[in-house]
């Protein structure tokens, strides 16, 4: 559990601190896996199979998310010739 918490915090910090979109995506992956780890740990703690079922779900969502995320990333790179997240800040109010 502690490891899961640390991993999640690391992912969050990476997400906030990094400007490169690839690292942001990787941070999100780290956070997702941290959440998955928490489920598995909790499942083994209470002897339930739900934790592992949820992890499978999280894996599939993560796969889908990465696919979409990478596609968006490619588009952004195409348009701005950079992977800086702050460069794509035109949609402001």
């Amino acid at each position: 559990m502690l490891l899961a918490g640390i991993l999640f915090a690391l992912g969050l910090v990476g997400l906030l601190a990094r400007r490169n979109l690839i690292f942001i995506l990787m941070s999100i992956e780290v956070m997702l896996n941290a959440a998955g780890l928490a489920f598995v740990v909790a499942g083994s703690r209470w002897q339930e199979s739900d934790g592992q079922v949820m992890f499978i779900f999280i894996l599939t969502t993560a796969a889908a998310e990465v696919a979409v995320g990478l596609a968006l990333l490619l588009q952004l790179y195409h348009r701005y010739k950079s992977l800086d997240a702050d460069a794509a800040s035109l949609m402001r109010g």
Partner: protein
């Protein structure tokens, strides 16, 4: 036959409804036909009614037709009813007949104008309102017609609304007459409060029974009604709207601002003459207003260069004559002058309209000239109407009506020598300004080329009105000149005849002689100044005093300037000053606050992805903390 009375206002109103609803879908021809035919039917009905009224006079010399009860609440029970007596009969006959001729004229005159059917719709609504005003048997219905004609006047002055000046003139007319209307409605409240009815005949009976002559109530009531009449009839000091109203189409000027609507004030005073007789100071004020207006407006007319504005001041001046007649108790003479004025003044306007059309929308009389040969018909009828206006002795109608008024301004117990003198000076001025126009427009060298000819729809009304301007005076001849008092005798049953008061050295014949002399002097002056040698009149306006006087008269004796400084500017200043009072600051504060919030919120939406993520994370922490610890 008298039962058809309600149709006179109803038919124009029906055709107004048709034109207003379907005007855009029907052709110009159909619109003109519906618009003019309805007035023609009304005119025919009023002729029939006049005939049957004269042949078999109903008992009491009056006929009332009650249609329905309008309101019935707490003793206040005005009816929609029409009251026909010789006074309203004559007025209705003249109004419908002149209206018909002017509609016929408009059918050709307005053909190229935009909003052709709209024009006829307004004109028909005007006739319906005007006849309602004349035939109303109670003051509330009269007020309905009164406001109806005011509305039509507003709509028609601003008929070509795409020019801002026209809209401004319309607004001015509406606001200035509104001042009088407010006084009038307060007068109606006062009458109802103290006499308990608005039915005119009943009101007059009760007033003369309950109120002694010269007491304060009839004075207040009559003064308030006079306020309404002064506004509507463009008398001093509310005359400023009428010259500006000339920006409307010429048939409108002829119908509304010369022949009919502006004389509504005269009608109101005549209708309630009992009240005015009970209030001698107010009646004297009527005479003074009339006399001063006719002289003031006469001087102003001398200096205008716009042909229609000359005629507008002339209208103000001629209504001044009617007011003078009312003021000295010469009721019948005033109505007589109303009738003849309706003929010659609408003719002057229609002829002026034909001239303006012919020389390509040129209003400036100094840029016309020598049109006598090019436009013989317009010249002929303008000359006839001008002579009638100025009172060419013996053959024109204007001479007889004016002669009667001026004579009675002397001979009535309420008249005096100053009022008489004002009338005579008025004739001199009238002859001077109208012949100034005639000489400048029709004589001298040719300055403008004629581009357009007019057709029969314009010629018929012109000729008809010209004949009427000449012969209509013969229904009432003074004792020394044939003695045919048909007109005054007809009105005797409604309006008390003038008591012959003091005579002094003047007889009626001599009074008429003075009028003829004044006419000749005016004509001679106009000939000398504007025909024989134009340099004289130029020299006159070039001297310093002459120039100052010219500008002063041209600007209507500074009335507009005064009102602007006295009322308009202070109100505008106060409006600017009062922009940020408590109420406004509350509403402005609400607006400011929401704008502040908007700016604050839009700052958070900065497009920075990582900022959003951080806020989401922080928000999650906060909510989890709330959920855990509370």
């Amino acid at each position: 036959m008298l039962k058809l009375l309600w149709l006179i206002p109803a038919i124009p109103f029906a055709s107004f409804t048709v034109l207003a609803l379907f005007g855009s879908q029907i052709s110009k021809k159909a619109a003109a036909f519906i618009g003019s035919a309805s007035i023609a039917v009304s005119a025919v009905i009023s002729i029939l009614i006049t005939w049957s009224f004269l042949v078999s006079t109903p008992p009491g010399d009056a006929y009332t037709q009650v249609l329905w009860t309008w309101i019935d609440v707490a003793g206040f029970r005005p009816q929609v009813a029409f009251y026909l007596d010789p006074l309203s009969l004559i007025m209705t006959l003249v109004v419908t007949f002149v209206s018909f001729l002017i509609h016929l004229y408009s059918a050709e005159f307005m053909i190229e104008s935009e909003g052709y059917s709209r024009f006829f719709a307004y004109m028909n609504l005007f006739v319906a309102s005007m006849v309602t005003l004349l035939l109303a048997d109670n003051l509330l219905l009269l007020y309905l017609g009164w406001e109806g004609v005011g509305l039509c006047s507003y709509l028609l002055i601003g008929f070509w609304y795409s020019t801002p000046a026209n809209g401004l003139a319309a607004r001015k007319a509406f606001i200035v007459t509104r001042i009088g209307d407010t006084a009038m409605i307060i007068g109606l409240f006062l009458l109802f409060r103290h006499l308990g009815t608005l039915h005119i005949q009943e009101l007059m009976r009760r007033a003369s029974e309950q109120w002694p002559v010269g007491s304060s109530l009839p004075i207040a009531a009559a003064a308030l009604l006079l306020g309404g009449a002064v506004g509507k009839s463009a008398q001093l000091p509310l005359q400023t709207w009428l010259p500006d109203a000339m920006l409307g189409p010429t048939p409108t000027s002829a119908l509304i601002h010369a022949a009919t609507m502006v004389t509504a004030g005269v009608y109101l005073i005549t209708r309630t003459h009992v009240l005015f007789t009970l209030a001698p100071p107010v009646q004297f004020a009527v005479a003074v207003i009339g006399a001063s207006t006719l002289v003031f407006a006469g001087f102003s007319a001398l200096t205008q260069w716009d042909i229609k504005r000359v005629l507008a001041y002339s209208t103000i001046s001629q209504i001044g004559y009617m007011f003078l007649a009312m003021g000295v108790g010469a009721w019948a003479a005033g109505i007589f002058h109303f009738m003849i004025h309706a003929f010659f003044k609408s003719l002057l306007f229609l002829a002026a309209g034909a001239v303006i059309e012919a020389v390509h929308e040129e209003h400036n009389i100094f840029k016309m000239g020598g049109l006598r040969k090019e436009l013989p018909l317009a010249f002929g009828v303008f000359l006839i109407a001008g002579c009638s206006l100025a009172g060419l002795p013996l053959i024109t109608a204007g001479f007889y009506s004016k002669g009667l008024i001026v004579w009675e301004a002397w001979s009535s117990p309420k008249g005096n020598v100053i009022l008489w003198l004002a009338g005579v000076i008025g004739v001199l001025l009238t002859a001077l300004y109208i012949f100034r126009v005639i000489f400048l427009v029709f004589f001298g060298e040719v300055k403008a080329s004629v581009t357009k000819r007019t057709g029969y729809k314009i010629h018929i009304p012109l000729v008809f009105l010209a004949v009427l301007s000449l012969v209509s005076g013969f229904v009432n001849l003074p004792p020394a000149l044939g003695n045919v008092p048909l007109f005054t005798r007809l009105l005797d049953t409604v309006l008390p005849p003038v008591k012959q008061g003091h005579f002094g050295p003047l007889t009626e014949m001599r009074s008429e002689g003075f009028l003829a002399l004044a006419f000749l002097i005016g004509l001679g002056l106009a000939y000398l100044l504007y025909l024989r040698d134009r340099q004289w009149s130029d020299a006159l306006t070039r001297t310093r005093a002459g120039k100052a006087l010219h500008e002063f008269w041209f600007a209507d004796w500074g009335f507009d300037w005064c009102y602007d400084k006295l009322f308009v500017q202070p109100i505008l200043w106060f409006a600017r000053f009062d922009k940020g009072d408590v109420v406004d600051s509350f509403y402005n504060g609400t607006a400011d606050l929401s704008e502040l919030l908007y700016r604050g919120l839009s700052l958070t939406e900065n497009g920075q992805l990582r900022w959003y993520a951080a806020v989401i994370a922080a928000g999650t922490v906060v909510f989890v903390a709330i959920a855990l610890f509370l």
